[in-house]
């Protein structure tokens, strides 16, 4: 096939904005509590995890409340973004089958909508950090950068999941199970140092471990490793690029599967 126009001039930025805005409106419009509802889930998780584990873990971690809040914030973003991305093509079936535009925008807008609420959650987290005695410091300026790295990771995973979910009905169930396992394989509510060296080495294959460490270091210790941050950013960018390439290569198969 061949043709002119479109690809070089299509205002993707405007389309991405409108689709993300629509997703945000739909997510928040559906509930009376709006944004407060999105805070309820992590708040409840915090209460339960703190209530159960504080007695054992708090001795090994300084400032366990903030440690746990930061872990939950980053975990929830990854879990919500990937899960919402997973169903994005199926939710946007009518849009995909009636308009021609780069398909990755569907997944990007889904992840973008989750990012929007997460940015507000981060503001709440920083307010909590200040309340808990942390002095705002320059390293806090890197927190959005680290969130952006996690966004890359979630987008990359989300793109693969979204393609898989169009192909197979049970990908959603499989991802639910994997997410449940991944939660316990990520040091959200426990310190990595509490595990055996062998297990620690194994868990380092989980990219969320690095993101959590970088974020917590910037939040509470005021330190960060530029090399590790750059490495994580590069890895996330490569994964996202691979996801976009997959979606573009399979754009017609996606339409076929959505149609029949």
């Amino acid at each position: 096939m061949s043709g002119e126009g479109g690809a070089g001039t299509f205002p993707y930025g405007h389309l991405l904005w409108e689709m993300t805005r629509g997703e945000v409106l739909l997510r928040d419009q559906g509930t009376a509590l709006g944004f407060l509802w999105t805070l309820l889930h992590p708040a409840l998780m915090f209460v339960v995890l703190y209530g159960v584990f504080a007695r054992w873990v708090a001795k090994a971690v300084d400032g366990y409340v903030l440690y746990l809040l930061a872990g939950l914030f980053l975990w929830n973003f990854f879990q919500k973004a990937t899960t919402y991305a997973l169903g994005s093509f199926k939710r946007a079936r009518g849009t995909v089958l009636n308009y021609r535009f780069p398909r990755e925008i569907v997944v990007l807008s889904a992840v973008g909508a989750v990012l929007w609420s997460s940015l507000m959650e981060m503001a709440v987290l920083l307010a909590a950090a200040a309340f808990l005695g942390q002095t705002p410091r320059a390293s806090w300026l890197l927190l959005p950068v680290i969130l952006a790295v996690e966004l890359e990771l979630a987008l990359g995973v989300g793109l693969f999941l979204a393609v898989g979910a169009v192909e197979f009905q049970d990908v959603e169930r499989i991802w639910e199970v994997l997410c449940a396992a991944l939660f316990y394989l990520t040091p959200v509510f426990y310190p990595l140092a509490a595990l055996s060296p062998r297990l620690q080495a194994l868990l380092r294959f989980n990219p969320l471990v690095l993101i959590l460490e970088l974020f917590r270091a910037c939040l509470t210790a005021g330190s960060f490793s530029a090399e590790r941050l750059a490495g994580a950013a590069l890895g996330g960018a490569l994964l996202s690029a691979a996801g976009v390439a997959l979606v573009r290569r399979r754009q017609f198969q996606l339409a076929d599967k959505l149609l029949v």
């Binding site: 002119e4 629509g22 559906g30 021609r100 192909e167 197979f168 339409a255 029949v260």
Partner: protein
């Protein structure tokens, strides 16, 4: 744009692979199929062996019974689906084939959907701001802007993507069953807009069961039957052949 031709298809075909027995599309089924080697699937050709040339400024009708391949053809021409065989050359911007308000968001307001629809049709923010009043005026939805799209009747909701598409600088406009939902006044307005766009060199392909509208609008029509071109030529004869086959 390249010369007079807007669309050119040669031996165009599209098949879908569908299940030959009841089964779920799951990872487990796929693994089982790989292990057992069984593939209970078959090919269904929706369009096959189609040769078609449409010139700039032409309004082409596409008619046929349900399942004839009309909508699949529009999806191919819009390059939303990829062909399974043959070639398709499209000269110009032909993003959508708008099937009423499908693809928009019924739970959002008409105003929000208008902005979304314009963006999906490739209008930049600046272009949309400039043309918003024209789009609202054409759609006659001014008093419904804050209503949810899903609260509108089918006919009113269909006006939104139509009005946006008319103002979206498309070179080739693909219309699926649009003509059958509007009231007489809006339909007359659409016909006028189609003719005006054709006079400007835009190409329009209209799929419809509303044969009177096709006859009024299109000098030439494609009659599809079972995915193949049964007839391509003067609209009156295409309609007669369709009616004869239906008897």
């Amino acid at each position: 744009m390249s010369g007079k031709i807007a669309l050119e298809a040669r031996g165009l075909g599209k098949k879908f692979t569908i299940g030959a027995r009841e089964e779920r599309r799951t990872v487990m089924e796929a693994v089982a199929r790989t292990l057992t080697g069984s593939a209970p699937r078959r090919d269904l050709w929706a369009v096959r062996g189609l040769d078609l040339t449409v010139e700039r400024g032409e309004i082409l009708g596409v008619i046929g019974e349900n399942g004839a391949g009309k909508s699949t053809l529009l999806l191919l021409l819009s390059r939303i689906l990829g062909p399974s065989e043959g070639t398709l050359r499209v000269f110009g911007k032909t993003d959508p084939f708008f099937q009423l308000a499908a693809g928009l968001r019924p739970r959002l307001s008409v105003r929000d959907n208008m902005a979304l629809c314009a963006a999906l049709l490739g209008l930049s923010r600046a272009d949309f701001q400039r043309r918003r009043e024209e789009i609202v005026a054409f759609s006659e939805l001014g008093e419904y802007l804050e209503a949810r799209l899903g609260e509108l009747s089918t006919g009113l909701a269909a006006r939104l993507p139509f009005a946006a598409a008319i103002h979206a600088d498309l070179d080739i406009i693909l219309v699926d069953e649009m003509l059958s939902v509007g009231d007489l006044k809006f339909k007359a307005k659409c016909f006028k807009a189609f003719r005006s766009l054709a006079a400007q060199g835009k190409t329009i392909v209209v799929v419809s069961h509303d044969l009177d509208s096709v006859r009024a609008l299109c000098a030439r029509s494609l009659y599809l039957r079972g995915g193949r071109a049964e007839f391509l030529g003067e609209t009156g004869e295409a309609i007669e052949r369709l009616k004869t086959a239906a008897r």
